[in-house]
């Protein structure tokens, strides 16, 4: 299947509120990111994952390589890709945990610790749950977290994509982080 040829159509439809198209976009992105992550890890022993490059590569592959992607496409693409990347990472953590409980650690192919020091086990799952709660309370903030933390975009890039000031993105990020910290630390 050539995802690239149709993704703009799906993106348009998803933006229009078509739930099925949105699922489709996310599925494609999920598979793409997951596959690239596996390749990135398999390439070399001890190599680390790089979420930022994964997201950007998937963009180039699915959208950017044909040139002249419309701005709305770009903005939405990254939002969806960030969300998909989050799913990939959460699933990794879930698998890792399952295998750890099952005592089979031989096939572990993902680093135990993320770059930011959060362990790829209950810790990350707890963060995911907290983020879910934030999404319910304040979807904007959750979006910023996905873009910055899971897709590795800079605050400046997020500001450009969402057409807001860098300062307000930074403020959102600070607040989101405080919310998540408070939730995760259980107080």
């Amino acid at each position: 299947m050539d995802e690239g040829s149709d993704i703009t159509v799906w993106l348009d439809a998803a933006r229009g509120g078509d739930r099925a198209s949105l699922d489709r976009v996310l599925t494609v992105l999920y598979q793409e990111l997951h596959g690239m992550a596996r390749r990135q890890l398999a390439g070399q022993q001890g190599r680390t994952l790089d979420a930022t490059s994964l997201v950007h590569e998937s963009y180039l592959k699915l959208l950017g390589s044909r040139g002249g992607a419309r701005f709305e496409d770009r903005a939405h693409f990254f939002a969806y890709a960030a969300s998909a990347m989050r799913s990939v990472v959460v699933d990794y953590a879930r698998n890792r945990l399952a295998r750890k409980r099952g005592g089979d650690l031989k096939r572990v192919d993902i680093p135990e610790n993320s770059s930011s020091g959060i362990r790829m086990d209950e810790d990350l799952l707890a963060l995911d749950v907290a983020l879910e709660r934030l999404q319910a309370l304040d979807p904007h903030l959750a979006r910023v977290v996905e873009l910055r933390y899971f897709a590795g975009l800079t605050e400046q890039q997020i500001a450009e994509l969402s057409q807001r000031s860098e300062r307000s993105i930074r403020r959102d990020w600070q607040k989101a982080r405080l919310f998540l910290l408070t939730e995760v630390s259980g107080d």
């Binding site: 680390t48 490059s53 959060i118 403020r171 408070t182």
Partner: protein, 819 residues
């Protein structure tokens, strides 16, 4: 948490996150007044902000080196990539330890540069670059090495426009363009005075912000490429410098000097004035550029202006400008961009002077052909004399900081040594004796000072720097009075200035304190230093070595005054600062030896010995041959002698003496002090016949060099008393000890007084004057208690001695006195 509650918290957080720590506390207190629960919750959240800085700071997975936004580098957090170049990345960054609000441009050097040798060079350069502080310079705030081993620099973040574009866009008149260039010259001259050559001056490094110039990247080219090898990069290799502004010697790969910067400044001025580069190329290729730089005479700026743009008529404004440029400005630019460095302006100051003369309509100093003729001829005629003399001066400079080896190192850094030479040639020009291949150092310094005062009168900061150098050299020569006189002048000069760079202030204060200490004026030394304590505190981050020197000087003075605890604290501060970053072995050794001295004073001989040996081993390893080892060996020897280890003491003292004679000569105070210790040891070993005359000579020479009331003269007198006592000459003993006590009664030397009084009392007792003995001992007792706080064993021993003295009534009768 429900949505309503979150909305409330969220809007409070919006407000609170805007505030600083104090503001937050205040606002939270207000909130608590109305809703304690809300305030507590907010406070808890904000506490997370402080305690969990790392939480989610980086993306969930990120490869090191890529997409580093948010990453911490040293005390900075990367915010935004400003640019990427051959050298590495430039990031906008902010302090994340809350120390300063100001954003900085953080330069991260690329990994390929993490080659061996870079780190040591980096540490050395960082010290030098930190010294550069100038209103038109993008200040270096911090530099370090990130966990991956890549060096980084934090500089002022300057949002400006390259000078050429700024001038064009605003269509500034010629005068204003040249005035901006004068600002550039002032920074470059400041850096040259600090022996740093830029080597990569170009419009993109010269930004105009808020109407003033800011120069970027001073010294970084030099750090990356100390030999200037990038200039001869292999074909296809990226060059570290921009060819358009490179001087012929850079293209050829010859040694660079301050005149390399003069050339590049010439090219920039040319472009700022005409809007064009000085060479017109048929084909734009590097090879063509190189050929032009090496061979083609640049078109005079006035003629370039008349050529205008290809295929367009020359506007009237350009023609008017050309008329103004023709003549003097053409001449000035031609001299700045001469192919032969020796034919260029000798310094940036000279170039700036002619720019000012042009602006004022006065005749230039530059003359058509024949310029520099005299100097060149002189240099050729006296090539060996001048070379020898300038090397000797480097060596002298090194002695002043007590290191001959440093001169060798300095010479290896070609560009800087060249700068030094350029800076000093004028000195030799007038030192008559140079012509005969040898010269009188003191005369040289005097000439240098006169010249500095005459020629740098309009540049008080440069004059102050020069006086600092000359003062330091006099300290090195042991001429402490002269040094103090010059440093006093420097002080007066600096007091009248505003915006004195911190580095200069600290150095001036420390140097003057050192002169005071050498003169035995220790209380003044301490007061003088303490007046600058706040400057030292402010500069601690930026100039750790300078502040360490400051602390170490303070410690020495306090230690002389018997302020043991304060001295120890100051030595420890110095040690910590010297150890910061790559460390400074000579400084570390000095502080270790200082601490050992305090241990020895407290009778902790084993610990003191260990300290001295550690310090000496460090010097031996990192800086063999430094004269600091002399003082350390002397102190170690003295301590060993005191604890009866004569053979070891003798070895240490003999070695110290040999080095001192070699480094300082036989009449230098340092050498004389070593000789005194040797004589005392000889006395201890029973070689009175040698010790006596030697000590007499030492005392006379010390009195001559330092004045008759100097502490060291007192020590020599005291030693002579020891000799007389060993000879059994009671009257002579009393007389020498009395002289010593008289000298030490000066408030600066009270730390020595108890021992002096103790020995004097013993001598008076032996000479049959128990009343005088009792008086001396009582005074000693009082002093000891006052100085050390608690009654020590020394005090108890004094009490015993006092108790054994015959009572006053009985002392009339010699018969009972002998009981």
């Amino acid at each position: 948490m429900d949505a309503l509650r979150w909305r409330e918290l969220s809007s409070w957080l919006d407000q609170l996150l805007e505030l600083d720590e104090d503001g937050r506390l205040q606002r939270l207190r207000q909130v608590a007044g109305r809703d304690p629960g809300l305030a507590a919750e907010l406070e808890k959240m904000l506490a997370h902000e402080r305690d969990s800085e790392q939480f989610m700071a980086q993306p969930v997975f990120s490869a090191p080196g890529s997409s580093r936004g948010g990453t911490r580098i040293g005390p900075y957090r990367l915010l935004q990539l400003l640019g990427e170049g051959g050298m590495g990345e430039v990031w906008l960054a902010e302090r994340c330890d809350g120390m300063y609000e100001r954003k900085v441009a953080l330069k991260l050097l690329r990994s390929g540069l993490a080659e061996p040798g870079l780190h040591a060079r980096f540490a050395r350069e960082r010290q030098i670059l930190a010294r550069l502080q100038h209103p038109h310079l993008a200040q270096l705030h911090n530099a370090g090495i990130d966990p991956q081993g890549h060096p980084y620099f934090a500089l002022d973040y300057v949002q400006g426009e390259p000078i050429t574009e700024y001038c064009q866009r605003r269509m500034l008149p010629l005068e204003e363009r040249l005035r901006l260039m004068l600002q550039v010259c002032s920074v470059v001259a400041h850096a040259h005075a600090n022996l740093v050559v830029h080597r990569d001056l170009k419009p993109s490094n010269i930004l105009v912000a808020d109407g003033g110039v800011k120069l970027l990247d001073f010294g970084i080219a030099q750090l990356l490429d100390p030999e200037g090898v990038a200039a001869v990069a292999a074909p296809g290799e990226p060059r570290a410098f921009t060819l358009h502004y490179a001087a012929p010697e850079q293209v050829r790969g010859d040694p660079l000097s301050t005149r390399t910067d003069v050339y590049s400044l010439g090219v920039v001025i040319y472009e700022v004035v005409t809007g064009h580069k000085p060479y017109r190329l048929r084909r734009h290729s590097d090879i063509e550029w190189e050929r032009s730089i090496l061979e083609v005479q640049p078109l005079p700026a006035s003629r370039r202006l008349l050529q205008g743009e290809a295929g367009m008529s020359v506007p009237a404004a350009a023609r008017r400008l050309a008329r103004r440029v023709r003549g003097d400005l053409d001449l000035l630019l031609g001299k700045a961009m001469d192919k032969d460095p020796q034919q260029r302006y000798g310094s940036v100051d000279a170039l700036a002077e002619d720019l000012r003369r042009f602006l004022d309509g006065r005749p230039l100093r530059a003359h058509p052909p024949g310029t520099g003729y005299r100097l060149r001829k002189y240099l050729r005629r006296h090539r060996w004399g001048v070379t020898g003399a300038s090397l000797a001066l480097s060596a002298l400079l090194a002695v002043s900081t007590m290191a001959v080896w440093q001169a060798r190192q300095a010479r290896q850094e070609t560009a800087r040594a060249q700068a030094m030479q350029d800076f000093n040639i004028g000195l030799f020009d007038r030192a008559a004796s140079v012509r005969h291949g040898h010269f009188d150092v003191r005369q040289l310094l005097e000439t240098g000072q006169q010249r500095a005062q005459a020629e740098l009168a309009g540049q008080p900061l440069a004059l102050a720097e020069m006086e600092g150098v000359i003062g330091r050299l006099h300290i090195g020569l042991g001429d402490y009075q002269t040094a103090l006189r010059i440093l006093d002048q420097q002080r007066t000069l600096l007091q009248a200035q505003q915006d004195v760079p911190g580095a200069l202030q600290l150095e001036a204060v420390t140097q003057r304190a050192r002169a005071l200490r050498m003169l035995g004026r220790d209380r003044e030394c301490v007061t003088h230093l303490q007046a600058a304590a706040s400057i030292a505190d402010q500069q601690q981050d930026l100039l750790p070595t300078a502040v360490a020197g400051f602390a170490s000087e303070l410690a020495h003075c306090q230690s002389q005054l018997g302020q043991v605890r304060a001295a120890r604290a100051a030595f420890i501060r110095a040690l910590a600062l010297y150890q910061r970053g790559e460390g400074n072995p000579r400084g570390i050794a000095g502080a270790l030896a200082g601490l050992a001295g305090l241990d020895a004073e407290a009778g902790l001989d084993a610990r003191a010995r260990e300290g001295y040996q550690q310090a000496l081993a460090l010097l031996q390893r990192a800086a063999p041959g430094t004269p600091e080892a002399i003082g350390m060996r002397r102190q170690l020897g003295q301590m060993l002698a005191r604890s009866g280890k004569a053979a070891e003491a003798s070895a240490a003292l003999d070695q110290a003496w040999q080095s001192a004679v070699q480094a300082f000569g036989p009449d230098h105070p340092e050498t004389l002090v070593v000789q005194r210790s040797r004589a005392l040891l000889a006395l201890q070993q029973g070689r009175r016949a040698w010790a006596g005359p030697v000590l007499g000579e030492v005392r006379d020479k010390l009195a001559f060099a330092l004045g008759p009331d100097h502490r060291e003269v007192g020590l020599a007198e005291h030693a002579l008393g020891d000799v007389a006592r060993a000879d059994g000459n009671d009257q002579a003993t009393v007389s020498h000890y009395r002289t010593a006590v008289r000298i030490w009664r000066q408030p600066d030397h009270v730390a020595l007084l108890p021992q002096g009084l103790l020995d004097l009392g013993e001598a008076e007792r032996a000479a049959g004057s128990p009343a005088r003995a009792a008086a001396a001992w009582r005074e000693a007792r009082q002093l000891l208690i006052a100085q050390r706080g608690i009654p020590s064993s020394a005090v108890r021993q004094l009490d015993l001695r006092l108790a054994r003295l015959p009572r006053p009534a009985e002392q009339m009768s010699p018969a009972t006195a002998n009981n």
